[in-house]
Every structure is written in C-alpha cells, then in structure tokens.
C-alpha cells in the first residue's frame, strides 16, 4: 500500500476517534457514564459516520467526474447534479407526505436527470470543456430557478423551513435510522467508483486512446456517471447541499499522491471524508447553536483550493 495513502488513512482514523470524543458535552471518554455512552453511540457515532461517508462519496464523485470530463473544475455542483437533487428533494417535501426515503429517491432521480441534461446540452453546444461548463451553468440555473419556484409555493411554517433547513446542509440530528436508507446507495457508489479507478486512467486519456486500449468507453463512462450521481445524490439526500468538498478534495489528493487514478481515487475519498468530518466537527462544536455546514465547508475549502492553486503554479514554475 502506498505510503501517502497509509498516512491519510491513519490521520482519518485519528480524526474519526477524536470527533467521537469532542462535542458540546465534554467528558473524558475513558470514564464515561451511561448518558455519555448514549451520546457517543446514538448522537456522535451516526453523525460522524454520516459525515465521513458523505465526504468520501463527494470526494470520489468529484475525482471521477473530473476525470470523465477531463476538467479539473468539474464537480457535482458544477455539473448541476446538486441543484437537480435539491429540486427533487424540495419537490418531494412539497408534494409527498413526510418520508425520508421518498425525498432520497426523488433527489437521486433528479440528480441523474440534471447530469444527463448537462451532458446532452454540452453535446448540442458542440462538445468540449467550455461547452460542458456552460451547459453545467445552464442546468444549475434552471434547477435553481425551479427550487425557487417550489419554495415560493411552500407554506411558510411547515414545508418552507424544512426546505431551507435541507438546502443549507446539515448533519444535525442524524440518527442511525436516518443513516440506514442512505447507506446502500452511498456504499454502492463508493465501492463502484473505487473499483473503477483503473478505468478512470484510461477514460481520462480521451475516447480514441481508450478504444484503442480495448475499453468499452460508453459502458464504463455511463457506469462511472451513474455511480458518481448515486453517491452525490445519496449524500445530498442525507445532509442537504454541501458545497466545495467534491471539488476541493481531488485537488488536495492530487498534491499528496499525484495524478495516477489508482492512487488518486482512494486518496480523494480519504481527503473528502477527513475534510467534511473536520468541517462538521467545527459546525457542531464552535457554538451552542449549530453553524450551517456549507458555511464551514466554504470557509475551509475556498482558502485550501486557493493555496493549492498558488502552490501548483509554484510547482510548475519550479520544475
């Protein structure tokens, strides 16, 4: 196993254990009473597990999409999957009886639809990286408008606050029963992407080279997109909209392990999990009131990405 990945794993495990032992209710974990143990097993553990899984899923989706579309700016948010999922979820909150599974299913379906729409629009616009980015912007805008419309139609007491809460993104109140329905799609997405990591190397070369190497490009591309969308929309349905993690994690991972996807993919997952877990720890411990998770990920993610861009330029100039 790679040394950098080993380091990342150790660090992630360390953070995972630390996260379990910090919170607003501080007690030494080595002599915890019954209440403290309940807090750890029923409040912190599901939340920490949810944050880790979601972070890993977003990091993986980000790295997969960046390879597929050969664009380092790509990510679930940029290609409209997040907006699509958000629209599906608020639509489910508006029209369906309260049911987390229904919200999750519609979030997934609309996330996939948004991704396909962006891809199709890019084709219509002539293909290429620029067309793809523009198509992503169009799709995002379209679904954001739909979200705004649905919010307008929602009643202000019951459904609208539920939507706003969901759109801001939060792991607050995550229980094992919330986590359970999201785990299968998350795990399927995560495992599929991890298994497909060698394909990503081939796909990132471009269609002609991939075909020349004997890879069924269409099949594997579709598989990767579905897995990435599955992972993204499942995490979106679990915690709402989470900005930045999907875009930033692959960049951090690239700095640590390089560009080979066989190592980059697991590293992205670990970085994503670590990053989101850290952000969620801040969101739940900094003040008596929960801070919005997206605020935390923006605060942490944006400077990191900027630092990386500066470093990368320095690296390129130096070599």
């Amino acid at each position: 196993m790679d040394k950098a990945i080993l380091k990342l794993t150790v660090f992630f495990i360390f953070l995972f254990i630390t996260s379990l032992s910090v919170g607003r209710l501080l007690f030494p974990p080595w002599h915890a009473n019954a209440l403290d143990r309940t807090i750890i097993t029923y409040v912190r553990l599901p939340r920490v597990a949810a944050a880790s899984l979601t972070g890993a899923a977003l990091g993986l989706a980000g790295v997969a999409l960046q390879n597929i579309f050969r664009n380092y700016l790509a990510g679930p948010g940029i290609l409209g999957v997040t907006s699509g999922s958000a629209f599906g979820a608020v639509l489910a909150i508006l029209l369906l009886p309260p049911n987390p599974a229904a919200v999750q299913l519609t979030a997934f379906v609309f996330g996939l639809m948004a991704m396909l729409l962006a891809y199709y629009l890019a084709r219509l616009a002539g293909g290429g990286i620029l067309a793809l980015i523009l198509a992503g912007i169009v799709t995002s805008a379209l679904f954001s408008a739909c979200v705004g419309m649905v919010k307008y139609m929602a009643d202000p007491y019951n459904k609208l606050p539920a939507m706003v809460y969901w759109l801001l993104g939060s792991f607050a109140g995550t229980k094992w029963s919330d986590l359970a329905p999201a785990v299968p799609p998350l795990l399927i997405g995560v495992v599929t992407l991890l298994l497909l990591r060698w394909v990503l190397n081939v796909l990132s070369l471009g269609d002609d080279e991939a075909v020349a190497l004997g890879v069924n490009v269409g099949l594997f591309r579709a598989l990767t997109i579905v897995a990435a969308t599955l992972a993204t929309s499942a995490s979106t349905s679990l915690a709402g909209m989470i900005a930045w993690v999907g875009v930033v994690s692959p960049h951090i991972a690239r700095l640590l392990v390089g560009y080979d996807n066989r190592r980059l993919v697991p590293a992205s997952a670990l970085v994503g999990a670590t990053l989101l877990l850290f952000c969620d720890d801040l969101a739940r411990t900094l003040s008596a009131a929960e801070l919005p998770l997206s605020v935390m990920t923006n605060f942490v993610g944006a400077p990191i990405l900027f630092a990386i861009l500066v470093r990368r330029r320095a690296c390129l100039a130096g070599s």
Binding site: L25, N158, V164, S287, R311, A314
Partner: protein, 386 residues
C-alpha cells in the same frame, strides 16, 4: 518545491493544528466541568427542597424518593411523560416562551430561542442571556443542561431534532399556535405541566370574554372594510403581506374585516399595482426587525401609493407593538383583536377604552404598569383618525 517537501509541510501543519485543538479542548473541558459542578450542586439543592415539601405525597423506596411524572398530550397527539418538578425548560420554538411568561413560569425557561425580546427582557432580566443559545441549539448542548422538558413545534423542521432528543430520553412536547383554539390548548397544556391549571383557565376565560365581546359587537355590522396587512421584510427587501391561512388574517376576519390577500397562502410579497387592484380601505402595518416607521415612510414617500384608498383616507395604522405585534399569535393577541375592532368599526367599539384594558392586562399578567411597557404604534385610534 518538491511534492515531498510540500507533504511534509502539510503534515507539520496538521500536527500543529491537532496540538492546538487538544490544548484548547482540555482548557475548555476544565472550564466546563467547573461550571457543570456548580449547576449540579445548585439544582440538587433545589430539588431536595421541593421534594421535602412533597414528601406527604411521595412514597420513599430505600431512602430515595420515587420520581413523580406529569403526563400531557401534545399537539402531535402524543402522550409525553415529564418528570417533576419541572425546573429547566429548553425552548427550540420561539413562540413558546412568551406563553411560559404569561403563565408566570418564565423562571423555568432555561434557554433556547424566543421572540419578543424587547418586551420579555422587562419581565425577566436574564432573558437576553437565555436566548443566547440561538435558533438551532446543538443536541449535546441540550443534554448538558439536563432539562426536564424541551418545547418544539409540530413543524417538519423540528422532527429530526425531536426524535433524537426523545431517543435520548428527554421529554419533548410539540406545540402549534396557528389559531385561537391552539393557543387555548397550548396554555392549558402548560398549565397542567406546571400545576397552574386554575390560572391557565383564568387566562383562557379572559381571552374568551374578549372574543365574545368582539363577536357580539361586530355581529350587527353591515359593511366589512377591506384590510391589507403590511410589513417590510429586510431579508426580502420588499413589502409583504399575510395570506388567509395566517393567524393575523383570521383575527382580522374575526374583528369584522376582510383580508384583501385572503386568497393567498402564507407570507407573500406585494407590489403596488396589486394593492391598487385590491384597493384596501385600511392598511395595517406590523414590524419584524425593520421598524414600522420605515414601512410608513416608504408608503408616504411613494407617489404610487397615494392612489390607494386607505392612504388617501389617512387610514394607515401601525399595530401596537411592545416587542411583539399585538395581532401576532402571542399573549397579547386578544388586545390586538380588540384594537382591530376599534380600527375597523370605531362606532361599535366606541365604549371600549383600550388604554384601560391594556393597562389592566399588563398589570394582571405581567405585573408591569403601562408606563413601564414601551408601546409604539397607533394605540389610540380615535384621535389618529382624521
């Protein structure tokens, strides 16, 4: 710069961050444990004091008093078992604490979130500190307080938090205050929880007598004025109104008026063209954050609004506000109803001296004289009318 050096730098930074976290965490832990010890001893003392007065009713088992429970059915229709005595209440729903203060049990409100800051800080000097927990209190923060009761609303936004608290064995009652009957049932439920059933009934009867008075007075009126409720939302940068399903609109209907926006639902933005089409006879201004004077100015300075009948007739009124708008679902809604009666039907409500009623209300339920309460808005309408 090589990748190796960079990863080295990153790991050093990470280690430094961890060390800082650990130091800060342990310092914070020491600070907290001191505070926790303090609260534990005081609460134990308080508990033993109350149990000693109740020993006649409690059976003792092996020296330890068995815990008593009060059981209530909340707005979800769920039976909630609350351990007694209830001394620490956390409110996640900001509409709840005002009714605790109304019932005279504001000292049991430990913290959380509440509306009406400007008024309740007069009633409770610790009020500002209590609402410092914010609107989305962390679950461990709640556990730390060890409340006997958490009050939330039936709204979906709370459902995740409520089920988590319940799984931790913390009793939660969910309330809903969207019409007059729900206000009554909330007050009587609180009455039961704090053993103030009789006082709760007194409050409810007081409210009912005002409703009866208003109903009998407006029964005979032939014309129902068209009313527009208006407020300025800083968040939306626009004037907004209330649809027919809102509490404020229901009060207007009860006071013999017609809400021009009755067909809308919830809070909605309005533009002057739509208002011109509605052409309301009366405009009522309420305030949330942005003061009513700004809304008033906005209307007065905009030539387009001058064509509206209510503005032309000088019938733009600011609803009395003491930290809460009187027509909001708050303890003062009955005063608001009476005030609405006076505004909509001044002839029928000629004999009602609102200042007197308000002075009585504040003295009776909050032990405040009218001069202590800072009321803005058109409290005395008859003189304001041109």
């Amino acid at each position: 710069m090589s990748r190796k050096a960079l990863s080295k730098a990153i790991s050093v930074a990470i280690i430094v961050a961890i060390v800082i976290c650990i130091i800060a965490g342990s310092a914070y832990y020491l600070h907290i444990s001191k505070r926790a010890n303090f609260t534990t001893t005081t609460s134990v003392a308080a508990t033993s004091a109350t149990t000693s007065t109740r020993t006649s009713t409690t059976t003792r088992q092996g020296g330890a008093a068995t815990t008593q429970y009060v059981v209530v059915v909340d707005a979800r229709g769920k039976k909630v078992k609350i351990p007694e005595p209830v001394t620490r209440v956390i409110a996640l729903y900001g509409m709840a604490p005002p009714f605790l203060y109304l019932l005279g049990v504001g000292n049991k409100f430990y913290g959380g979130w509440s509306w009406g800051e400007d008024f309740y800080k007069l009633v409770d000097p610790e009020f500002n500190k209590k609402i410092g927990f914010g609107r989305s209190m962390n679950v461990e923060e709640i556990v730390k307080v060890r409340p006997q009761l958490v009050i939330a609303a039936t709204w979906r936004r709370f459902s995740k938090m409520v089920s988590q608290l319940e799984s931790l064995g913390i009793p939660v009652v969910c309330i809903k205050i969207e019409n007059i009957n729900e206000i009554y049932s909330t007050i009587s439920m609180f009455g039961k929880i704090f053993h103030k059933e009789k006082y709760a009934n007194t409050i409810i009867n007081y409210y009912k007598s005002i409703v009866n008075e208003v109903e009998s007075k407006v029964k005979s009126v032939s014309t129902k004025p068209k009313v527009l409720i208006l407020y300025y939302s800083g968040r939306h940068h626009s004037l907004r109104t209330f649809g027919g399903d809102m509490f404020q609109s229901k009060l207007v209907e009860l006071a013999g008026g017609v809400n021009v926006a009755g067909n809308l639902s919830g809070k909605k933005g309005v533009n002057v063209e739509q208002v011109a089409k509605w052409n309301p006879d009366i405009i009522l201004i309420i305030q949330y954050g942005v003061p009513a004077s700004k809304t008033l100015q906005l209307i007065r300075n905009d030539p387009a609004w001058q064509a509206i009948k209510a503005v032309k007739d000088g019938k733009v009124y600011v609803v009395p506000y003491d930290g809460e708008n009187w027509i909001d679902p708050c303890p003062k809604w009955a005063l608001g109803l009476l005030w609405l009666g006076k505004v909509l039907h001044p002839q029928q409500f000629k004999d009602v001296n609102l200042t007197e009623v308000a002075a009585h209300f504040y003295k009776e339920f909050f032990n405040l004289s009218l001069s202590e309460v800072h009321i803005t808005g058109n409290l005395t309408v008859s003189t304001a009318k041109g």
